[in-house]
Symmetry: C2
Subunit: 429 residues, 2 copies
């Protein structure tokens, strides 16, 4: 007969040293190596991170630009204008967009000019067409002005938006439509970006069915792998799907090693519990790599495990969907973003007002899935009704994770909380 | 000799009937026809809009699920437990994840069970492994419990997250990573979405250079076409790039007609001013299609023009980058989103606190590019320093458009304003 106090079982599984989230993040970020830069066509650069800052090569606009269809002239010429004293200027040029003025403007003359065209030398203002009159005499056109004009009106001066040498875009910026416009205007038709990291993804668990399989008793469909694939893409990574494997240490070991050889990082889901089938934990403990941590003081996802082999990260997330999601956002997303040179690899941190009471507390920091609402200029966060680690259905309805510190004894509606904003827009429910 | 009061020139160009933005939006939205549905693999459905609602086909979880590695047993059996009264239950089964219990639990028995495994019939609670003891006698294993257990502990009941017939996802939802998880869990491996609209894009203007051309006097690079391409993609559309054409009515006409034949909508930029080269305006006026509007009471972009030909929309945006951007967000984006069945085709509307004084007003509603900051739970909006219609450089730094109503006589810092949230995350500057 043997009697075991299972708590005292000399198994490392039960003697994990828990790290704080920030410390665990620092450890994985050390291995977020910046990937090689590559050139992509401007129209494929959206959603990538700029590798080099963009410095203005020339003033923008590059010439004094007319903001109106009208007449370019010298403001001084109109100083005596009045409703009963129309001033007539000789029209000496016509300047469509894209053309170069053929003559300079001298006192007593004006040029017909289009919106966006180059204001001729000498002229210092543009009078809009609609408030002018015209007259033809001996084959010469004159423009009549009835009101004094101020110098500088309707003229965008050279360099108004950008001067040579100005910083247009910093390195590490996520390229959006407005950045595309700036890059195009500066003549950047191929953009240097860091390549997308290849992220191997596999799931472990004998209970897993493929998405297209019919349900079987005791089994569940593998929803974590497709979710991780979407999350990796959202973070700018290039997911490499390695399927689901049963709880088989040998198979897991060879799969992890192969994946680490060909990918920049490997994410697994499942197999990190303290149970008998803790294959990812076993894999790390048996020195397939250096363990960075195998416990984090957080809920959900306290069993999140990270190891390094050959300089590459293996991130073993919980198989519980909620914990898998939170673990990805806290640890995988910043690494994937940083590998691409992102200036802001972490989720944005906002302060919000708690929308309802939240009573669940424990000795670890909680990351509570929640819905944001912006009302009258104030950000409100509403915790999901069921928020267990195993729960999948609340992920889709969450805009943020509320950070509930361990020392809290429950929080009341109206309290200020820190939230991590999840990617995506906030619409009313 | 001829004398013209140009204001009285009998030209429709100067007699545009201005519509309010809301009315103009309603007019274009009437032509946002819902496109055909298509089936895409689950992993390509992210960023698309769900065509049909998803109703739960089976309870989720589909069985009573253990939330712990431990022992499944009958809570009642432990009611007399105490530190000096250990209760021993006969272990009659071992249930790994994905397996089916082989026997029901009856009083006096328990089953070893893993996290995520199916709780056997008869058992109503799971005791975590770490607080149990074990004993072997005559080849039979017994588990020892020292504390009374509550029924329901560590058991996720069947249907806790979703019951058969529950609405999981509404039609029109933009599919994100959390939705992918839900679809996967429900066994949806191909997803019905409305196809992406093909959006023809071309620019007009003799002043336009390609992005890879060196600057020439009086000319500018075409930054609007690449920006519109990125904006169309961001809205879920499929951009069809038709290049830039000089100010040539014939060419523009044939290009527009061809584009309308092969695309679902055509967006042009440039050629809608009141100048002599107002080719898009001319094209609409000469009855190439039915005009919906050619003036909107907004700044920038008052000359925004929309027409319909053969049931398809032609949206002619200003050539000024700022006006082009705002016009896209107000008119093109909602149409593109609605064609895909989006539940929320318009930009989200938030209330924010104005961060600095804003003094520029006029008789039209202004859409002022601005930067958002969330401080202590409050949304602040900071107008861009230069915000003219022609200005390109502020687009990239804007998170939102502040709506400044025409009746305002300037607004002071601290005032509540309505903003349209632009796509993208808000990071600190």
């Amino acid at each position: 007969m043997t009697l075991n106090h299972q708590e005292d079982k000399p198994d490392l599984k039960f003697h994990r040293k828990a790290l704080q989230v920030g410390e665990a993040q620092s450890r994985v970020m050390e291995y977020a190596q910046l990937l090689a830069a590559e050139e992509v066509p401007l129209n494929q650069s959206c959603g990538r991170y700029l590798a080099d800052e963009l410095i203005t090569p020339h003033p923008f606009p590059a010439f004094n630009r007319s903001g109106m269809d009208g007449y370019a002239l010298i403001a001084e010429d109109t100083k005596d204008c009045g409703s009963d004293n129309i001033v007539w200027l000789k029209v000496v040029d016509e300047i469509p967009c894209g053309a170069v003025p053929s003559v300079d403007i001298t006192p007593g003359t004006a040029a017909r000019i289009m919106t966006g065209a180059q204001v001729p030398e000498g002229a210092d203002t543009v009078v809009m067409f609609e408030v002018t009159e015209s007259l033809e005499k001996d084959g010469v056109t004159y423009v009549g002005i009835r009101k004094p004009q101020a110098a500088g009106r309707n003229v965008t001066p050279i360099g108004q938006e950008l001067r040579t040498g100005d910083l247009v875009l910093p390195a590490g910026k996520l390229i959006g439509a407005g950045d595309i416009a700036a890059l195009a205007a500066m003549g950047v038709h191929t953009v240097k970006v860091h390549r997308r990291p290849k992220i191997g993804i596999f799931a472990t668990g004998s209970e897993l069915l493929e998405v297209d399989e019919p349900l079987q008793p005791g089994k569940i469909r593998n929803s974590n792998s497709p979710m991780l694939e979407a999350l990796v893409r959202e973070a700018g990574g290039d997911p490499v799907m390695l399927g689901a494997i049963a709880d088989d240490l040998e198979l897991a070991r060879s799969r992890v090693h192969m994946a680490l050889d060909s990918c920049d990082m490997v994410i697994t889901t499942g197999g990190v519990s303290v149970g008998d089938y803790d294959i990812m934990g076993d894999l790390v403990r048996e020195k397939s790599g250096d363990m960075l941590f195998n416990k984090v003081t957080m809920r959900p996802g306290s069993v999140t495990t990270a190891a390094v082999r050959g300089g590459k990260l293996l991130l073993a997330l919980s198989g519980n969907p909620g914990a898998c999601f939170v673990g990805f956002q806290l640890f995988a997303r910043p690494v994937i973003a940083r590998m691409q040179g992102a200036a802001h690899p972490f989720l944005p941190e906002w302060t919000a007002v708690l929308g309802t009471d939240y009573s669940k507390v424990n000795n670890y920091t909680r990351y509570v899935r929640a819905r944001l609402e912006i009302r009258d200029g104030v950000v409100h966060a509403y915790p999901a009704a069921i928020d267990e680690s195993s729960v999948m259905v609340t992920i889709k309805d969450s805009d943020c994770l509320i950070i509930v510190p361990p020392e809290e004894r429950g929080m009341s509606a109206g309290a200020k909380v820190t939230v991590l904003k999840l990617p995506g827009e906030i619409y009313e429910a």
